[in-house]
Symmetry: C2
Subunit: 437 residues, 2 copies
């Protein structure tokens, strides 16, 4: 009986493991709980999962590209050997040509030194490597509010503190970024600011893109406030190629003509396949060695075969054609979600949402007071009664920010087909109506 | 003129980047310098590179396996989607059957819970994740002397201290492990010991395997000395399947019947292909969540397509047949290096070497006083005049160990063919004779 009330007394006589502080900070990320919820509620329609649409995945293209990469025994063997830590130069040249096409061949991009390009395991590994390279515990990172919740977890694991910057329908607000920097300076902490992080296209979770006029302004602010040391801007362009309508903006990185302040993180997970885990970073040159030193400890380079396959798909032109078809597929589902939002939520007072021009997410705000968190009545009712899941918006703000909004939801049209999207939105609207009484 | 003599004054007006302490500790790993030397001396015969023999790489096998994985559109799409952070359960089941075969289907291995298996990006990622999960700066890791130099770099980057344990022709010496633990205890630092690390088969660099009788003894010591907390033993079995002759030993892990003290790290990089980057860890169950939390921040799981391909190769039986042919190829090259050592070094007084039963390395000791380091006359003469490269043995000892041996060399028969191995050894013997005068 005593054991019942004691503090998790070990049942076994095996001495306990002592974990590192780093490990303890990395524990209990929201994504684990979400995945667990998904497993425990298999009959739910998931508007939570940020997975890509399985129907977009290029089985034939990949098979054909692997065949071409492995057709010649000698070059095939090279692809099965180790590459190099940042990926071989000839492959980075192909990836640079892909970026040049995206950037409209502007800006002397074909002169971008190949040694500023590092190929990674998805762009997620790049986000982690940048964090490890820059942050000591207690250092500061400015992030859009809301922002990508997995990156908040990465910062937390590094012991870094995320400072929220107001974001509106045009993305991160330069005026608020400056206000935050001033406040940090007045606290004497400017030297602890290492990075500004933003998802610049069809933000995860907010769906908004940073408007064209704000892009150079954000860069200018980072430059201006780099006084005793350089503050970097990490532009996460993961969703850039999931463009459905509206203008195509140049990257923030493209305004940084000396390539000294912006890190551009790209991935082929959304536009091609997450299962190949190929991502790419373009880094200020002084950052390349620290990132590669860390990456060398990690893996001596990401899967070389996969880098070869994606490069082959780019070279052949298959990639561009594939992205066009992916866009067409997602556009239909984006339309389904937006139409369903209008059909099922318009008459609920105080509900608003962002209608995105790309990406995978609709960001919805409920009336203040209707909490959406894991322990809220809405989340439980939605999952258990209506069988629909979403990502609670509060996860997308720094967890130590007491005033963070708690009545928002990230709704993904990634995995569901159009009818599943519509049905999920209907169920969710019923759950919201139920909670509102 | 003043600028010439000033302390690396910045030429640009861009403020400097401030890197993390972690990043500074990860800088300047020996492997970068070695790779640089390789690039700068392209006409050298490299007995340094630990790469696998390109001729062993399974181009046709891999192509056929990819074809089978992607043949069915539905399961093909699943392989191109994200897997899970530790890899999907059905794939881990296949990898468990591979391990069971290696272990001779002993020990109830088919009852090993699948959730103690984590698939990684090579085994290198596992080494890093274990290090991150366990070590705070200042914590201690006992390592064989000599040991895998990349792991020493990983420990250094974590701020951990490596304590060398004597190793002889039977591998890590239990008596010396106990002596070191006693010394640590008497300094009041036993609580800082987190791990004992050993390459248990055909060690990189020493070529020796831990003898069968020492395997349970090392485990027992780890158990005995786990007083207030558990000390783990990390068994790096990277070379296990590169077996050419002599007995096949059970893993140390197989003696740990409760699966509580030993981490088994395996990889398909040596036996199959490093370019697919598939590795596997078997962990004590309490370690699984911390490792997966860290890995989730890193990549959400390693390349799912590649895990599917290696599992398919295992299931089909192609893997076992391939490993047989790989062993045959390396055996010839091992013989070439050992024969060349006998032919060219036997008459040089004070030179000894280990003749390995597997793996990729011959470990050679020169007469005391003949230093082998990067800045030694021997290294420079060998690289520049004789055009042959090796890994200086001193890199394989903790760099803060002042009494570390400095007259040893790791010689690899990995990349060269038999005639290149012999020619490289001839050149190296001439360089040694030159230095000895």
């Amino acid at each position: 009986m005593l054991r019942e009330t004691s503090n998790s007394a070990p049942v076994s006589s095996v001495p306990a493991l002592h974990f590192s502080q780093h490990s303890r900070r990395a524990a209990d990320q929201a994504i684990s709980y979400l995945m667990q919820q998904g497993v425990e509620n298999p009959d739910c329609i998931s508007l939570a999962a940020g997975l890509v649409d399985e129907k977009t995945l290029p089985v034939q293209l990949t098979k054909a590209a692997v065949d071409r990469v492995l057709r010649d025994p000698e070059s095939g063997r090279t692809a099965l050997q180790y590459g190099t830590t940042p990926g071989p130069e000839h492959l980075r040249r192909t990836f640079r040509s892909w970026l040049a096409e995206l950037e409209g061949h502007s800006n002397g991009l074909n002169n971008l030194p190949l040694d500023q390009i590092v190929l990674t395991t998805g762009s997620q590994q790049l986000l982690l490597l940048i964090t490890q390279a820059l942050f000591n515990p207690g250092d500061l990172c400015l992030v859009a509010a809301p922002t990508y919740f997995v990156f908040l977890g990465v910062l937390e694991a590094a012991g870094a503190k995320a400072i929220p910057v107001k974001s509106d329908e045009n993305g991160m607000c330069p005026v608020d970024l400056e206000r935050q920097l001033k406040a940090i300076e007045s606290r004497g902490e400017l030297d602890r600011v290492k990075l500004v992080y933003t998802v610049s296209y069809y933000d995860n979770p907010s769906g908004v893109s940073i408007s064209e006029d704000r892009r150079p302004r954000l860069l200018d602010l980072v430059k201006t406030w780099s006084r005793n040391h350089r503050i970097l801007l990490l532009e996460d362009a993961a969703y850039r190629e999931l463009h459905y309508d509206g203008p195509k903006y140049p990257s923030i990185w493209s305004f940084d003509t000396d390539r000294e302040f912006v890190i551009l993180a790209s991935t082929f997970s959304k536009s091609f396949s997450p299962g190949v885990r190929v991502g790419m970073g373009v880094l200020p040159k002084e950052l390349v060695k620290p990132v590669c030193d860390l990456k060398g400890n990690e893996d001596f380079g990401s899967a070389h075969l996969n880098q070869n396959v994606v490069a082959e798909v780019i070279r052949s032109g298959d990639y561009r054609r594939h992205v066009d078809s992916v866009q067409t597929g997602y556009r239909v589902k984006r339309d389904a979600m937006v139409t369903a939002a209008r059909d099922f939520f318009s008459d609920i007072p105080g509900v608003t949402w962002v209608e995105p021009n790309g990406g995978m997410y609709v960001w919805m705000t409920l009336p203040a007071g209707v909490e959406t968190g894991f322990n809220s009545p809405l989340f439980r009712y939605a999952a258990q009664k209506e069988k629909v899941m979403y990502v609670p918006g509060e996860l997308c703000y720094p967890s130590d920010w007491h005033d963070r909004p708690r009545s928002q939801m990230r709704l993904s049209f990634g995995v569901q087909q159009a009818d599943g999207v519509r049905e999920g939105m209907l169920r969710l609207s019923r759950a919201v109506r139920h909670i509102l009484g």
